[in-house]
Symmetry: C2
Subunit: 435 residues, 2 copies
């Protein structure tokens, strides 16, 4: 059964690419058995082919001409771990259109323009697999796309960015402020020198778009995702969450349900939120990722593991590689993208959730009445309210029942204008049943 050889081209040889090469060597015999054919790495496209690398491969494999490598007639599968939109997109479209299958870890490209790739895959009758693009090693996309294919997913809630989860975990366990926790994360290599992609939620938003598309059979791009980062989360917010038996997490949430007109629609958002400590996601700490899935028949599921890193991501790439190679040998294709449902994507204002609002107020008669009136006018019902401190230090803390984001925003605007309110200290969404 091992007479046949499948030829693999690798685009990119950074942290993930290096691990892919290493594992291809280390697991050579097992991969041959599991695929039913042997694999040959025929080229590695990199920016600087001459650079010294500590990799057990023929130096002649390295090339700076990625386009020529992808165009080689003998290539069966392209693995792309360059990242970014171009030249990755053009290279992958060229491969897919020629019928060459692709395994990619490129979340930015999939979230911005996955449709172009999937369309090319369809034209070329080729596979496009991307397990490594979301939550590193955690098998997640395949379960969503395949195992739950007979069910109806209603909600996906994920901790999908390790850097921000590390920072928030530190703030929770040490009481540190955001800047201090970020510095520590940078010192330990969990955060980049320019941490904006993580901190501001861009990375999580790209992953949310990919997850939402798979879960709801609808095309979703990063631009469709409401996004707030964790830069504004204070030590005081984290303490407040603790007092409610909650923890602050950066959540990526994709949910499906009827909109105000009763039409089935979806919402996709990334923002920090207070999550009950009894929720399975609350225990996901440090740089770990997890995704919590709710489906009509399956109930609640959670997938947990390493969300990033060379080896975990390479594991996901090789899992996909085995699948596309098996498909190739049996002249089959895996499930492509599925966007038949074409559900409407709701704007953030229609999102319904609960809110924790802290107001710095003047401690005088009538404050609560005027604040409560502002909430009532916008139909935002208050679940609990209590005052902390007094005199000039008084703070009014409110937790609402469910309300739309638009109603809450309007309420906050109105409250901000009240004479008795000195400042809106914080507004945090509350998820997962905190009381």
């Amino acid at each position: 059964m091992t007479d046949r050889t499948l030829r693999v081209a690798l685009l990119g040889c950074g942290v993930v690419g290096t691990e892919v090469v290493r594992l291809l060597q280390l697991q050579r015999d097992d991969l041959t058995q599991r695929i039913g054919a042997s694999l040959e790495l025929v080229g590695i496209a990199v920016r600087r082919p001459g650079r010294a690398r500590d990799l057990p491969v023929d130096p002649a494999l390295f090339t700076s001409d990625a386009a020529a490598l992808v165009a080689r007639e003998d290539v069966d599968v392209v693995i792309e771990v360059i990242g970014g939109i171009e030249p990755a997109r053009s290279l992958l479209v060229a491969a897919l259109e020629r019928g060459v299958s692709v395994v990619t870890a490129n979340k930015a490209l999939l979230a911005e323009d996955g449709a172009t790739l999937y369309d090319a895959a369809r034209r070329g009758n080729a596979d496009l697999y991307c397990e490594a693009s979301v939550a590193g090693a955690i098998p997640l996309l395949r379960p969503l796309r395949e195992s739950l294919a007979g069910d109806r997913v209603t909600r996906v809630t994920g901790i999908v960015n390790g850097t921000t989860n590390y920072i928030l975990s530190q703030m929770d366990s040490t009481g540190a402020g955001f800047d201090e926790a970020l510095e520590e994360a940078q010192a330990l290599g969990y955060a980049e020198a320019d941490p904006s992609a993580d901190i501001d939620g861009f990375d999580a938003a790209a992953k949310a778009a990919i997850l939402a598309g798979l879960a709801f059979h609808t095309r979703v791009t990063a631009a469709d995702v409401y996004r707030e980062g964790i830069g504004e989360v204070t030590a005081s917010d984290v303490r407040t969450a603790r007092d409610m038996n909650g923890v602050v997490k950066l959540l990526a949430i994709a949910e499906r349900g009827p909109d105000h007109s009763g039409r089935d629609s979806i919402g996709v958002r990334v923002h920090p939120a207070i999550l009950s400590r009894t929720h399975p996601l609350a225990g996901v700490r440090d740089a770990y990722n997890a995704v919590f899935v709710e489906a009509d028949a399956a109930g609640q599921l959670m997938f947990y593991g390493r969300g990033a890193g060379g080896a975990p991501t390479a594991s996901a790439v090789l899992g996909d590689l085995v699948a596309v190679c098996r498909n190739r040998l049996s002249d089959a294709r895996g499930a492509g993208d599925s966007s038949y449902a074409q559900l409407r994507i709701r704007p953030m204002g229609e999102t319904v959730t609960r809110y924790h609002v802290s107001l710095d107020v003047a401690d005088k008669a009538g404050v609560l009445a005027s604040v409560a009136q502002a909430f009532a006018v916008h139909d935002v019902s208050i679940q609990t309210v209590h005052q902390e401190g007094h005199g000039d230090e008084a703070t009014l803390v409110l937790v609402t029942h469910e309300a739309t984001d638009a109603a809450l925003s309007a309420t906050v605007e109105e409250v901000r204008r009240l004479d008795s309110v000195r400042a809106v200290a914080s507004v945090m969404r509350v998820e997962g049943g905190v009381e």
Copy 2:
């Protein structure tokens, strides 16, 4: 794309079968889109076809002749939710040999004689999918078989039986004894009137065999699995675990590693153990299931969800159904079983782990010396020891470093014979890094 119709025969219509029928109706349009063909349920084999059922299907579909249903020329896929060895095995072999694909939830059959089914599938070039057989709705077998196909799994640790996990969770949170917790589980419907299959670990052992086979590409049957149930776990054991910041769980463990001669081999076992509360599995409570997977490149992964129940299990069945139908339309086959590695299965005596041992002793000089000597003779190194109480109520509590099960058993036998030891009160394995 929806001109084609695929015909499905259902064997069994109990709790799971009823949900399968219900979901097939409810999700009809989505399933058609996801498969690319419509599904037609052409027959339901049951023991009593005339019985009144609250199901929205033509009563004429019910038949008591399962063999005739399976033999129908127009059937494309058979779903089996009868359970047990026969007649399920004969029916499925007949279907598979004729090239009819099978989706089954039958863990007992797969664990006892999965090889016969997989061989028949190979001969008939048909698919055999069984996601629902382990951990209900949790997508687990497919990730193990496919997503981790490019990695090397080293250990799988599962809480795979909801009944025993419910009982142990109750004992942990209320301090109840085993009998009391079992009665409550029975009253709530979490345990059967005859609870032996769950309590004595048979159910978990069948699932452990299936998991081990997939993880290690080796044929493993239920008879290869070392098995101890939870019937002997006392309120005192649970308290002891708490004192160590641990919790007692019934664990299904499949692990791979060199045996004493350095040869790669596997061990598969089901038994109660003290697990550190910091382990991700420790938080899995009540009737939930979870499986913790360790792999060389992926690191630590966990899959969590409902392990049983009609709807969750039916969700897994339908996920498989979509996959085999897609394969059928593209004339492809999914991955069959894989047993190329044929690793040796170690007997329990070779298992290496840590132990917690409680001894009722006479509180007199020399007791510790004689006990310590017995441990030393068998090369079982003691990590901590302390005495509780004194006089006739004295108890010596020891926690060992890693030792083989054979060495520990020999040690316990020797200790039991010591004059100064009145009784061996309990021996519990310790897993997951409790200190």
